[in-house]
Symmetry: C2
Subunit: 285 residues, 2 copies
């Protein structure tokens, strides 16, 4: 497994692979790898001859009061884990190589980035679209894979890829969960044991909504209410949003007529950790 830090070196390497007829698959991560990330690596390896995992805690997608500084960076362990799982190349640029002096260019989606997580994280998706467009230019992947857990990120990136004519295939992998149902996240390690115990409510609520949907429920209100009911069982979780939205426009739906995303975000009481989870009803992203 190669480890590359320099963006120009990475770009030259990937262009050479392309010329040689390889297909390149990209797994963008911020490191602190868990089984969810590994599932992405495994899936991309089945589609491409060269697997690239980027490990980059991207400063531009963090707000001023967010957890950029404390975000975990266990780089050696991440590399070992990626290597064990068949990764061909780790791309781990330094922030100053990605955003050098005079840096001033941003990619922004002017509609759907203000909704859901965008409401409480202004600028977050602008940071994501910008860094991903850079990665797409550096790694020139045929495919890039993302977890459904970050559903809005997937929807935003699919919009960007269509709008900017990026020749990369966006793949989406299912959410990987802990045995009690909590969606895996690098941020779960922030949780106190009380918060960790309470946080299973997100999945429980979504599972209850899925059951209602399977029984024929197509009105938003009871689907949302079943998530809210689970969250309210503990005082550890403050809902940020519970919404049923269209999977392209992210517009709120009052009745389900097509595929819709039921998404939830909460903040925990003790560590102010933000947790998200979702389910897609009637289709996939």
């Amino acid at each position: 497994m190669k480890i590359v830090h320099n963006p120009d070196e990475m770009q030259n390497l990937c262009l050479t692979y392309r010329k040689a007829g390889d297909t390149i698959g990209l797994v963008p991560t911020m490191g602190a790898l868990h089984d969810g990330h590994i599932s992405l690596l495994t899936a991309i390896r089945q589609q491409c001859t060269i697997s690239v995992m980027s490990i980059f805690v991207n400063p531009t997608q963090f707000g001023p009061n967010e957890d950029f500084a404390k975000y975990p960076r266990p780089f050696e362990a991440d590399c070992a884990r990626a290597k064990e799982n068949g990764c061909d190349i780790i791309f781990a640029p330094k922030p100053e190589a990605m955003y050098p002096q005079h840096y001033a260019t941003y990619v922004n989606i002017e509609t759907i980035t203000g909704k859901l997580c965008g409401m409480s994280r202004p600028g977050h998706f602008k940071g994501i679209t910008t860094v991903l467009l850079k990665f797409f230019n550096i790694v020139v992947p045929h495919a890039a894979i993302f977890g459904q857990k970050d559903a809005q990120q997937v929807i935003v990136l699919k919009r960007m890829v269509v709008d900017l004519n990026c020749s990369v295939n966006i793949l989406v992998a299912p959410i990987v969960r802990e045995t009690d149902g909590l969606a895996m996240s690098s941020r779960n390690r922030y949780l106190t044991s009380a918060e960790r115990a309470a946080s299973v409510a997100l999945h429980k609520g979504l599972a209850a909504a899925e059951k209602l949907y399977a029984a024929g429920e197509r009105t938003a209100e009871p689907l949302i209410a079943s998530v809210a009911a689970q969250l309210s069982k503990s005082d550890m979780l403050t809902p940020d949003y519970i919404e049923l939205v269209d999977t392209v426009s992210l517009e709120s739906q009052t009745r389900l007529t097509a595929t819709a995303l039921l998404a939830v975000a909460v903040r925990t009481r003790e560590t102010r950790t933000r947790l998200i989870d979702n389910t897609v009803l009637g289709g996939c992203l």
Copy 2:
């Protein structure tokens, strides 16, 4: 010469050329071709095995009160001229293919686009960076060439290419002028004969400044004043700006210590046509 309208078809074609080992050169234009455009085509043909000229009057780079509707579109004549001059492919997408329903993504440079032409044309450079990034993704060129006449556009695009890690080489070709010195522009056809006669003042003023510079002048004020003096000889031209700026930051310079751009923009009295011209002192873009 092929003529391609569909962006996906164009992208597939260009990716195929790339795979076959061709080098692709792009000449982005809005059509209404003049000798300046042809000089770009001739130059790119010396560098690349496949020459692509895009012809697209890009709506997103025009302000609401600008000349988008009346901008000349002599498509047949342009194609004939391009073919005569050895162009391999014309890429002429429809606006609705470039900006389909739900389109929402823009590339923006948050610093240097507010200066010079950006002051009187808000959003202009955002439209340019967005459409050029799309073209770079569709045509996947090894090189793209632009005329020095649009100096700020060149500086903005070089910034974008560095910032977003685009693997395209930005080439700059010298300004091509009419016999009396007026820089060629598709907008020159808007001019009345009185405006046309007066408009030579832009080049005369810049040439006078170049002469001063050659004689050792390094202070901004007299260099700018020599342009202003020429413009003031006629009441047909209202200066929009005359500025001496750094070629990277576009910051105003009071004394010349490195390469600098002396740029001028005017509006004509009768047809309200905007004319620009420039010279680079002490180097090149």
